[in-house]
């Protein structure tokens, strides 16, 4: 074998015997899927903040939120071999898992305490105001805030209550005193408008 001339080597760069370090979450997931713990350690900072922050919005109790976030992050490791990049980004995969777990946690707590009967309009305002305030601190948040503002009031309140409040659409309808069918539709067309505004593909 002769020395390969392709790819051309850039001068002045140290030669590394191993492949370049992958740095997108999707590339890291590929390594994590093969059981690479150090890749998981590099993936962690790319997803942990969003996982914990979102779980805390839904669960609220800080201790429980950390528990749920820990479960989700370990689940991300455990199920990495099933991650399919064609279905969405690694962050979407992690947050989908996290939202599901967070919602499971609040709903089982709800079933135990029958707390849901006391959901009132006041808590809707509070949840929404807190979100509106929290999402104003950086560019990504600014974009989400701006796009949320393009929704109709009912679309925005429905989406916010369902996502950050962890409510079923039946609960959303009760809280907003809107017909079930309307809320179902608003959740979909609200998300679609948000998708188009944010330029989300998959």
């Amino acid at each position: 074998m002769h020395d390969s001339v392709w790819p051309p080597r850039r001068t002045g760069q140290p030669q590394r015997p191993e492949e370049p370090v992958p740095d997108t979450a999707e590339q890291l997931m590929g390594l994590v899927a093969k059981g690479d713990e150090s890749a998981f350690e590099r993936l962690y900072p790319l997803v942990a903040g969003a996982v914990l922050g979102m779980v805390r919005r839904v669960v609220r109790d800080p201790g429980q939120s950390e528990e749920v976030a820990q479960e989700v992050l370990v689940e991300l490791w455990r199920t990495a071999p099933s991650y399919n990049p064609a279905k969405g980004s690694a962050l979407t995969w992690a947050l989908t898992m996290a939202h599901r777990r967070a919602v499971d946690r609040v709903r089982s707590a709800q079933a135990a305490t029958q707390r849901e009967a006391r959901v009132g309009a006041e808590s809707v305002r509070r949840e929404f105001d807190e979100v509106a305030e929290a999402v104003a601190t950086n560019l990504e948040r600014e974009q989400v805030r701006r796009c949320l503002a393009t929704l109709t009031e009912l679309q925005r309140e429905s989406v916010v209550l369902a996502y950050y409040g962890g409510r079923t659409y039946t609960e959303v309808a009760t809280v907003l005193r809107a017909p079930l069918g309307t809320v179902k539709t608003r959740l979909r067309d609200g998300l679609i408008r948000l998708r188009d505004c944010l330029g989300v593909s998959r």
Partner: protein, 255 residues
């Protein structure tokens, strides 16, 4: 796809469906590539809402996660959910298609025997044989009729103590047929009773003919609306108004 089902993509992507609706919608998703595409996009959108809530996690969380990861075995890759559901459904259909074909072959063989007998014997015996054949045909007629419905779907469950139950259902005709095979004989003075379960309630679908060998027709029932599962329990002869024992077979009513 009904427009109503499609509307649920938003609620599903936001985890805003209750457990029952979620499972129903997932069954629908497995057969609707358009919905799957939309759900993937809406989930990616919902994830943006999650990212907007990001905060700095405490160092102890990282330490706990890494410690647990170090002692946690990874799961083998799951087959793609959509493919798996399709394959499972296909396997189920094939299984019962084979069994139904075998039943049909059995019917044909029985007919041949009957006809053979007919050629040898005559008179009253021939009439009896023809009655027998007509009975056999009558037994399977509801099944054949229902199978012609465009939305006829089958699903089956395995008994806790062996055997299987199979339901062929058509929601457009609001009709279903239940067949059982190999279930243990219920204790003396008892019978299997079928239930339609949904919305936290069980409605009797009727008593299950205990032994297909007796020539009893398969159980037919209607009133599928609102039911999501089919269950079989052992009940005192004559049946009960509500189930009194744990189901020995429980499976999804085909959607």
């Amino acid at each position: 796809m009904s427009p109503d089902v499609h509307t649920l993509t938003g609620a599903y992507a936001l985890d805003a469906l209750d457990e029952l609706e979620r499972r129903r919608f997932e069954a629908h998703l497995a057969e609707c590539p358009d919905c799957t595409q939309e759900v993937d996009e809406l989930r990616a959108t919902a994830a943006k809402l999650g990212v907007a809530a990001a905060e700095t996690p405490p160092e102890r969380l990282r330490q706990r996660v890494m410690a647990q990861v170090a002692t946690t075995r990874q799961e083998p890759p799951a087959p793609d959910a959509d493919t798996a559901a399709t394959r499972r459904r296909a396997a189920r259909r094939t299984g019962w298609a084979v069994r139904l074909t075998a039943a049909a072959a059995g019917l044909a063989a029985a007919a041949a025997v009957v006809l053979g007998v007919v050629t040898v014997r005559a008179g009253a015996e021939r009439d009896a044989a023809q009655t027998q054949l007509a009975q056999l045909e009558a037994r399977y007629a509801p099944l054949a009729q229902l199978a012609s419905a465009p939305d006829a779907r089958g699903d089956s469950g395995t008994g806790a103590h062996g055997g299987t139950a199979f339901v062929l259902a058509s929601h457009s005709r609001d009709r279903a047929v239940l067949l059982v095979a190999g279930l243990p004989t219920p204790p003396a003075g008892h019978t299997y009773q079928a239930w339609l379960i949904g919305g936290g309630q069980a409605r009797s679908a009727g008593l299950v003919p205990s032994d297909p060998g007796t020539g009893a027709p398969p159980l037919e029932f209607t009133g599928l609306a609102g039911a999501s599962k089919v269950g079989l329990t052992v009940e005192p002869a004559g049946g009960s108004a509500q189930p009194t024992t744990t189901p020995v077979v429980l499976f999804d009513l085909p959607a």
